[in-house]
């Protein structure tokens, strides 16, 4: 009898056999299973790393297999673009369930980690991919055409200058000031939370680039007449004239009527 056979009734033998079986089937699967349809260079490692990050940070609300729970929807089909957007703008992970996930300055993950999680989610089901840099560069777009598209499709929620607007029940469309072209594109194509989906057959990639160009032009230009008071329109202008306009006038009137020293 050889040494291995002599130890076949060792207590650890069963455990070792299962482990070997798992490794073998796992390796076989990894070698033989069909790759996802995305053309991007996603490696199995990336998906694996993404899955781990997902399970550590996202599964509480989205389920272990991203199938969704009462606190968070299923992520099957949202695509890498959604992950890149949500995590990249700090919206995800949400600190607590709420009507809306606000954008946060502090992004918890670096680019590699975000790409990994995106790869994992993309591997679940086909969905929008991270857009090509060709279409997210505002410099190449036409801001005038973008403005027309923006006013028809976006201004009713986000305000004509992208200053943001209210939705029902405490939800809101956020301000679009100083957002990267990539994130703008991804938001349009994935329709985060209340925002509708503007897929590439609704608003073509060139049109999306025009919209990005428009928003970036507004970023650079918006103070043409002076302080904009938040670009919120007549409400802030009215507040300003009552507080400062009237206040200054009354100040001068009081001074005018006082006896001089």
């Amino acid at each position: 009898m050889n040494a291995l056979a002599a130890r076949r009734r060792h207590p650890a033998a069963i455990a070792l056999l299962i482990l070997v079986g798992l490794l073998v089937t796992g390796a076989a699967y990894a070698a033989l299973a069909p790759k996802p349809a995305q053309a991007s260079t996603v490696s199995a490692d990336q998906v694996e790393q993404g899955k781990k990050l997902f399970q550590a940070n996202c599964s509480t609300c989205h389920g272990l297999g991203a199938e969704g729970t009462k606190d968070g929807p299923s992520l099957a089909g949202v695509g890498a673009a959604a992950v890149d957007f949500q995590v990249g703008t700090g919206r995800m992970p949400m600190t607590r369930p709420d009507v809306q996930a606000p954008r946060k300055e502090e992004v918890l993950f670096d680019e590699k980690e975000i790409a990994a999680m995106a790869a994992y989610v993309a591997s679940l089901a086909p969905g929008p991919a991270v857009p090509d840099a060709e279409y997210t560069d505002g410099e190449k777009g036409d801001p005038a055409k973008g403005g027309e598209l923006f006013r028809v499709n976006c201004a009713m929620c986000h305000n004509a200058s992208g200053a943001g607007g209210a939705l029902t029940r405490g939800k809101y469309a956020p301000s679009l000031r100083n957002i990267s072209g990539e994130h703008i594109y991804e938001a349009m194509v994935t329709g985060p939370q209340s925002m509708p989906v503007f897929n590439d057959s609704n608003v073509s990639p060139e049109s999306k680039r025009d919209i990005i160009a428009f928003l970036h032009t507004v970023d650079k230009q918006e103070k043409v007449g002076g302080m904009t008071l938040g670009n919120l329109g007549p409400v802030s202008e009215g507040l300003f004239i009552w507080v400062f306009g009237l206040g200054i006038m009354i100040g001068f009137a009081v001074w005018l009527g006082q006896k001089s020293a």
Binding site: M156, G165, T168, G170, G225, P234, G238, I241, M249, A253
Partner: protein, 594 residues
């Protein structure tokens, strides 16, 4: 000159006792005299203008609010005239080719394009446009605050009821003028407002659709609304505003300005400063100040950035669609009025949800405002001329009614900004709307009651101050070892402000029947009158009379020990003093320093 008499020699001594020559008149003054003479030769105006120059105006900052309104209107007229040189009031479609790149190649109306040109391609155009719009906003702010001042001080009483009526009409016309003005550029925001206006017209029963087609000359938007609004804004309303406003200030000059009560001021005089030279300088200077402040605001703060909204199109709309602030109360009413107020009956649609806020609110509100002086006259039965103003606290019911009205107005105005409040304060817009709906009914009575109570308390405080004097913070120890705070009686000038007013009494109800038992024809209205009069004047605080003050002097308690404190008299033994209460009327012991 007399010194020369001593040192002069010879012939000069002969002239030593000549009368002093009068001050030589400078060349400039001679010219003015010349021109004035030429005009007077032809008009006899010297007497009139001389009289006007000597007119006296009382000095109080709250009297300048009407001036702010007047000067803002003049600024609008000036800058508006400039704008008409470049603005094109046409809805004809053109393609933009100016210097604002985000709109290059976009199809828009001529009106919008010309406004963009004014803003970006004409030197000084943007500053003139911004001055025009900021001055317009300030105009209506000043009108409202001026109206509130006139209301709370009772300046609308006889003989000024007519001026109040004129002012109310001016105020309403100013709203329409502003609406027409900001709709002229035909941008997305104001165009959405015009779209809503068309919906308002439709809601009028029977003639609604006809009204809409007549005003817009066909289906909305049509090509006529911009030129028509231009005629209204540039020609019709300015003419009416200037005309009514001229009558308004002529009446002020004729009836002379009211004044706050004070020492030396009576109902039969006006105390203040004459037009020449003081008021000419102050009021004239104030015009430049108003203009300068508006110019500064226009240099530093954007207003109505029409380039950001884009040209009007019925398909897009911007979040945060509000009219200019002065239309906010009507827009807010539309947001709060619930949908169930619209119903169909007999095959016709009654849209009260729109009509109440859009069509009825402004006339009803201004109607109530216009009628108020007559209501008060009915309630007080007071037919005397009033030239001394009321302190608001001395008429608590009127002040309370005014505050309640302002509360209701503010609820509506804030309702127009409900979506801005929702995003800035992180609230639900639905909750804000529901709360404001409730507040519209709950807040005014609460505000009325609180204001009235505050006024009555302030009156009692005034009484207290007169009767017991000012607490000086100085403590006196008597020989027996008791401690009192020394009170200083008010000097007669300060005291006068608190005792000069008269309190109205509720009207007594005369017997509703004559000696034969026949009911008087107006018995019911007289009963109502007495009831309302009771509501107004039942709770009142009378001003202190000399007898009461004398009684307070002799009031048994030594606590105030007022009788020992004629101003300048010495107190009893002084123990401690707080330096901060020293003032010009300090008693001798203070000056001895402790």
């Amino acid at each position: 000159m007399s010194t020369t008499a001593h040192t002069a020699s010879g012939a000069d001594r002969l002239r030593a006792n000549d009368p002093e020559p009068s001050t030589p008149v400078g060349g400039g003054m001679r010219k003015v005299g010349g021109v004035a003479g030429w005009v007077d030769d032809r008009t006899g105006a010297a007497k009139g203008v001389g009289y006007l120059m000597k007119k006296v105006f009382p000095d109080h900052w709250s009297f300048m609010l009407g001036e702010v309104a007047m000067y803002s209107m003049i600024i609008c007229l000036l800058t508006g005239a400039f704008l008409t040189f470049w603005f094109v009031p046409s809805a004809g479609q053109v393609v933009y080719d100016g210097s604002y790149l985000p709109l290059k190649g976009v199809t828009m109306s001529e009106a919008y394009r010309s406004t963009l040109d004014i803003s970006f391609d004409i030197r000084g155009g943007l500053i003139i446009r911004q001055i025009h719009h900021w001055a317009a906003l300030l105009f209506i702010v000043a009108i409202n605050v001026h109206m509130m001042r006139v209301f709370f001080t009772g300046a609308f009483r006889k003989p000024r009821e007519l001026n109040w009526v004129l002012g109310a009409q001016l105020s309403m016309l100013a709203l329409v003028e502003g609406f027409a003005g900001y709709s002229l550029p035909d941008d997305l925001l104001s165009g959405t407002g015009l779209r809503a206006a068309e919906g308002f017209m439709r809601s009028v029963p029977v003639v609604g659709s006809y009204l809409s087609y007549f005003v817009f000359n066909g289906p909305f938007p049509g090509e006529s609304i911009i030129p028509r609004l231009y005629a209204v804004h540039v020609l019709l309303l300015p003419a009416i505003l200037v005309g009514l406003f001229t009558v308004h200030i002529v009446l002020v000059a004729l009836q002379k300005h009211t004044q706050y009560p004070g020492p030396g001021r009576t109902n039969d005089n006006v105390v203040g400063f004459p037009v020449m030279p003081v008021y000419a300088a102050k009021a004239g200077g104030f015009f430049f100040i108003v203009f300068g402040v508006v110019a500064l605001m226009s240099a530093l703060v954007t207003i109505n950035p029409i380039w950001a909204y884009g040209p009007y199109d019925p398909s897009p709309v911007t979040a945060g669609s509000q009219p200019d602030w002065y239309m906010g109360f009507a827009d807010g009413a539309l947001r709060l009025l619930p949908g169930f107020l619209e119903f169909t009956a007999f095959g016709f649609t009654f849209s009260f949800n729109v009509m109440i806020g859009a069509i009825l609110l402004i006339p009803v509100m201004y109607g109530l405002i216009t009628l108020y002086p007559f209501l008060e006259e009915w309630v007080t039965g007071d037919k005397r001329e009033h030239h001394l103003l009321d302190r608001p606290r001395n008429n608590p019911t009127r002040t309370g009614i005014g505050m309640a009205g302002i509360a209701a107005y503010c609820v509506l105005m804030f309702a127009a900004g409900n979506d801005i409040m929702a995003i800035k304060l992180h609230l639900s817009i639905n909750d804000i709307t529901m709360m404001l709906r409730a507040l519209f009914f709950v807040l005014p009575p609460v505000v009325f009651w609180i204001t009235k109570r505050i006024c009555l308390s302030l009156q009692r405080r005034d009484r207290d101050l007169v009767l017991h004097g000012r607490e000086t913070g100085r403590i006196i120890r008597t020989a027996e070892g008791r401690f009192y705070e020394q009170h200083e009686p008010l000097d007669p000038y300060t005291r006068w402000n608190m005792v000069q007013h008269e309190q109205h009494r509720p009207l007594e109800l005369e017997s509703g029947v004559d000696e034969n038992g026949v009911a008087a024809p107006n018995a019911r209205s007289q009963r109502l009158r007495a009831k309302v009069s009771q509501f107004y004047f039942k709770d009142r605080v009378e001003p202190v009379s000399p007898a009461e003050l004398e009684a307070a002097h002799h009031d048994g308690h030594h606590v105030e020990a007022i009788e020992h404190q004629e101003p300048g008299g010495a107190p009893l033994v002084e123990v401690a003093s707080s330096p901060s209460t020293d003032n010009a009327d300090a008693t001798e012991s203070d000056r001895q320093g402790h």
